[in-house]
């Protein structure tokens, strides 16, 4: 019997089991540089060459750090994104695809506003405390619902949390119209009470501090606590978790409560520290961007500080260029998208290695 020799493919892909830290960081650094270069080219194309390649970067730096105020805004936006990314990390570590950060943060923001509206005469620290509790509880509830159905009947969590976003958005729109300052405007007037005190000369000073503290705490929780370990085991293999006596359902629901609660906290900070009102685009798609930010940081909260800064920097920098060139803000999304594609692609070279097989020769492999 004649056996036709199989054609040997030119490239072969194998999973990397051990990659040196140096190489993996090298690949990442290279991908960031590549992403920045690509962004420069894309911006030049979008602006039809109105600014030169080098000007792209000077303009971006100018937009993000040009004045003291811009630096503060950059830090603010970075932290807003960071808070949601940190919130998502425990859920993702458990391989629970929480796509619902947008909605969880929105109901958090809404809860804060409801508290203020219900208690018009109250002010000061007590009001802030009640707002905080309400927001965290609302966010947690929005997380627990899909968590419960995942644990109880294995309802697909990606699709469930996705739908919950739009339930939250419509809920917020409902209240925004209910409280609208002018008939037909659909926008509520700014709250006068329930504001965080100023710090560093800005309203959102405390937000930044709180988010940084939460980031560090969440790192410790995930890395050193027993619950963090349980999350990691459930994520790796539910069967293993069950075998070593972890109550998987409890862990899923608890982790989603934490994830949702942190998103709710982000909503609270948006209302009390930044916007002082709630509207359907207050989270501004950050709930979705945070998913990517968290993923690119390999779910490490400390590294998320870098990734969320990177995304915010591109966003703000491109917005600056767009405004100088009289273009619309959507240029930012294009640039961020391109950068994400490149960095996502680079992950492949960290997880896999590509082996070129010499055609004609048999690959010699001693197993």
């Amino acid at each position: 019997m004649k056996v036709k020799a199989a054609k040997e493919p030119l490239v072969r892909i194998a999973k990397r089991t051990d990659i040196s830290t140096g190489l993996s960081y090298g690949i990442r650094a290279a991908s960031v540089v590549l992403a920045l270069l690509a962004c420069g080219i894309v911006v030049m194309l979008l602006t039809s060459g109105k600014i030169s390649f080098l000007e792209v970067y000077t303009e971006m730096l100018e937009g993000a750090f040009g004045t003291a105020r811009r630096v503060k805004i950059t830090v603010r936006d970075t932290c807003a994104l960071l808070c949601l990314a940190v919130a998502l990390a425990p859920a993702f570590k458990m391989r629970f695809w929480n796509i619902g950060a947008e909605g969880q943060a929105l109901v958090g923001a809404l809860a804060s506003c409801i508290v203020v509206k219900l208690m018009p005469d109250m002010n000061g620290a007590l009001l802030i405390l009640i707002m905080f509790i309400a927001s965290v509880a609302a966010g947690a509830l929005w997380g627990i619902i899909p968590g419960f159905f995942k644990a109880a009947i294995k309802a697909n969590e990606t699709l469930f949390t996705l739908m919950m976003n739009y339930v939250a958005i419509q809920l917020v729109k409902f209240f925004a119209v209910l409280w609208e300052k002018q008939k037909g405007a659909g926008v509520m007037s700014t709250l006068t009470t329930g504001k965080l005190p100023q710090l560093f000369g800005v309203d959102y000073g405390w937000s930044i501090v709180i988010i940084l503290v939460v980031t560090v705490l969440s790192y410790i929780y995930m890395k050193y606590s027993k619950q963090g370990y349980e999350i990691a085991v459930v994520g790796e293999s539910e069967n293993t978790a069950r075998y070593i006596g972890i109550n998987v359902k409890k862990v899923i629901i608890r982790t989603m409560a934490i994830s949702g609660a942190l998103c709710g906290l982000a909503g609270f900070l948006l209302v009390s520290g930044t916007h002082h009102l709630v509207k359907s685009d207050i989270v501004g798609g950050n709930g979705f961007t945070a998913i990517i930010v968290a993923w690119l940081a390999h779910l490490n909260p400390l590294i998320m500080m870098l990734t969320s800064f990177f995304v915010s920097f591109l966003d703000i920098g491109t917005a600056k260029i767009a405004s100088t060139c009289n273009l619309n803000d959507f240029a930012s999304d294009v640039v961020v998208g391109i950068a994400l594609f490149i960095i996502l692609a680079s992950e492949f070279f960290i997880n896999y290695k590509v082996i070129f097989t010499k055609s004609g020769k048999k690959a010699k492999e001693g197993k």
Binding site: I99, F149, K154, N156, M163, Y166, I169, V177, I291
Partner: protein, 325 residues
Amino acid sequence: MDFAYILSRAVAQGLPLLYGSNGEILNEKSGNLNLGIPGIMISGGVAGIVGALIYENSVAEPNGVVGLIVSLLCSVVCSLVLSLIYCFLTVTLRANQNVTGLAITIFGSGLGNFYGGAISTILGISNNSIPATAAAYKAPLVPFYDKLGAIGTIFFSHGFMFYLALIIAFVSWFVLKKTRTGLSLRAVGENPATADAAGISVTKYKYVATCLGGIIAGLGGLYYAVDYSNGLWDTQSFGDRGWLAVALVIFVVWKPNLAVLGAFLFGGLYIAEIFVPGLTSATKELFKMLPYLVTIVILISTSLMKKKENQPPESLGLPYFREER
């Protein structure tokens, strides 16, 4: 109010959702949970406008049919490119599907709205309407539809993309359910390792299904852009239609034939607030929550019933790597 007219509006509202969900079904049947569909729909739609606009401004007497073909091609190419990026990242480079899909949506909606929002400024032309092309899209294929009474108004007052959507839905259903190719595709989505062992090229099936699905979804954006909105793009108005299309996939339990009914039902729900009496502007917003709430209920009940044919494809969202056990 004229009941037949309301229903015809529901059908028109449902068409982008039908295209979008049909595309997403093909994606998901191959195991790719493509969350990039909303972005592909937006950029696919705007690409059609850009193509038609360039054509109509480059000739003195624009021909509607030529404009139609140009915009159709532009839309298809744009959706194809985005789908290829998605496939390359998730199938070839095995990046996470949720993350890649969301990146595609950020990029696609950004690209679409960037050009769609300031189209005449960017192209440097004063005229930003495409009357000839839009008219060609809107021309009813059955010219005597108004003589057919209510049925005519509801079903035959639409342009050719209405029929195209039905044909695509029927073909998708037929291929998925009745052909060898469809069986193989479903096998890839359910259990790629088994399909691979049976000699089915997992990569090829995933690429083809995802790209075709992306193109179909892009047509939904195209219909919305050039037919429904007459070729005038407003960055706000497309709204959540893309995600609604993803929701619809669950609602119709991954069946393209049911998607036809589901799309028109969702289309009706989308505009029902205009026609239901006694709603204030606030409660209207609650009413718009309905499609999502209904989808959640369906998601819960299909998980509860555990009927095999109503479940999401088994490997949905997971990358496939042959050497992994």
